[in-house]
Amino acid sequence: MSPTDPLAPAATPDDSVLLSARGIRKSFGDNEVLRSIDLEVRRGEVVVLIGPSGSGKTTVLRSLNGLETPSAGTIDFAGGPVIDFAAPVPKAQRYALRDRSAMVFQQHNLFPHMTVIENVIEGPVRVQKVPKKQAVAEASALLDRVGLAEKRDAYPFELSGGQQQRVGIVRALALKPQLLLFDEPTSALDPELVGEVLQVIKELADEGWTMVVVTHELSFARQAADEVLFMDGGVVVERGAPGAIFTNPTHERTRRFLDRILRPLEDGGADDVSP
């Protein structure tokens, strides 16, 4: 793929470290939500965050994207300065984080007053100053790629949830970020629409995009993840290859969480009554 190919990952998947976050802490008032999170993402790698609701997964992603300012810790994003949150962080550094990564939200957060193509070119044209013609051409290629070419002039409300989320992914891709952040991209979808969105994410992973994905879709994690982090109570309880974590978790908390997801009807404490 040529370097100008809009479909090509912006970061070459050469396995070097793209992002390294150390000792990330975040408090909201008295509530310490992240208690020293370490996270390393290599180029081309897919890191999946799992964990119960409220464990701090979204806050981790938002910190990596500069939407949230951690109370302590450092983020070293390749090509930029090491940001140390112990001191007040200059605005320019937070913007630099946003420029390098792009977020796909649980509630797609598409711009309702803009058509699909307008949603996608807004960042490239307004922020990155890409010529409009070029931005439209690249956006069209990306939309075509996720099977939404004929929806380019539709408004978001005219799309299904799965289509909306695919546009959300394209909007992120159009910025050519080095890192894609997905926050439960399929949690708000009807079950029959989950597959089409996961499929797109899986293909991007296979093409070498670097991503951090928060999801409860364990089959996706099993297939796509290079590393799985299990978070609970603001700490990473366990991390490792998906095979190891899912089949042989070392921590009780991980095991209970996986049990609850895989067998939601059973009470964790009760004897196993299934055949």
């Binding site: 977020m103 711009f111 007053h113």
Partner: protein, 220 residues
């Protein structure tokens, strides 16, 4: 006994008073007032306590005092401290300040009605808060604020009649002059009322068109 000839003869002067007085006064004051209101709304939302305090105070004063008193303070009151302002500028200042106070609350509510996720989506594609506001938030806020702002504008068109009391030649002042001269008070004032009503009907249909246009991106 109704003098139909007088009704016909006075129609054009009244309408002309509306076209050259009422409408420009309302349009200019509304435009200035909206700009002011946007600034005040942003101050009010701001986390800076001084700014939001000033905005709150301003809104409270405007909404808590009669428009006629505001007009009189500016036109008849200011000369006492050496500031003399002509009738037209006085009226525009008073009406703009008034619209600024009322519309600020409408715009503030409209901005706050846009989901927080829209700000975040703007930030994540690299936009500054200012660009996010103008490109993403205000266009969406516009849709919700058109109905209440239209009401503000329609009220303003009617309220411009108060400017007759500070010697501005708008439609109602023309009506008063014709009525005093002809002694046909009922006829002339009803005629003026009908023309105000006509203006407001036109505005209401304009409002409907605008609402339809802004509604094109929401599910029905």
């Amino acid at each position: 006994m109704t003098d139909w000839q007088l009704a016909l003869d006075s129609f054009w002067p009244l309408l002309w008073g509306g076209i050259t007085g009422t409408i420009p006064l309302a349009v200019a004051s509304f435009a200035l007032g909206l700009v002011l209101a946007l600034g005040v709304a942003l101050m009010r939302i701001s986390r800076n306590r001084v700014l939001s305090g000033i905005a709150r105070f301003y809104i409270s004063v405007i909404r808590g005092t009669p428009l006629l008193v505001q007009l009189f303070v500016i036109f008849y009151g200011m000369p006492s401290i050496g500031i003399t302002i002509d009738p037209w500028p006085s009226a525009i200042i008073a009406f703009s300040l008034n619209v600024g106070g009322y519309a600020a609350e409408v715009i503030r509510a409209a901005i706050l009605s846009v989901p927080k996720g829209q700000w975040e989506a703007g930030y994540t594609i690299g936009m500054s808060p200012g660009t996010t506001l103008t490109r993403l938030i205000l266009p969406q806020a516009a849709r919700v604020s058109v109905p209440p702002l239209s009401n503000t504008f329609i009220s303003l068109v009617k309220d411009t009649s108060l400017a007759s009391l500070i010697l501005v030649t708008e439609m109602f002042r023309v009506a008063q002059e014709i009525a005093a001269f002809s002694r046909e008070f009922l006829l002339i004032y009803i005629e003026a009322a009908l023309i105000y009503w006509l203006f407001c009907l036109v505005l209401s249909s304009g409002q409907n068109l605008l609402e339809k246009r802004l509604d094109r991106y929401v599910a029905h």
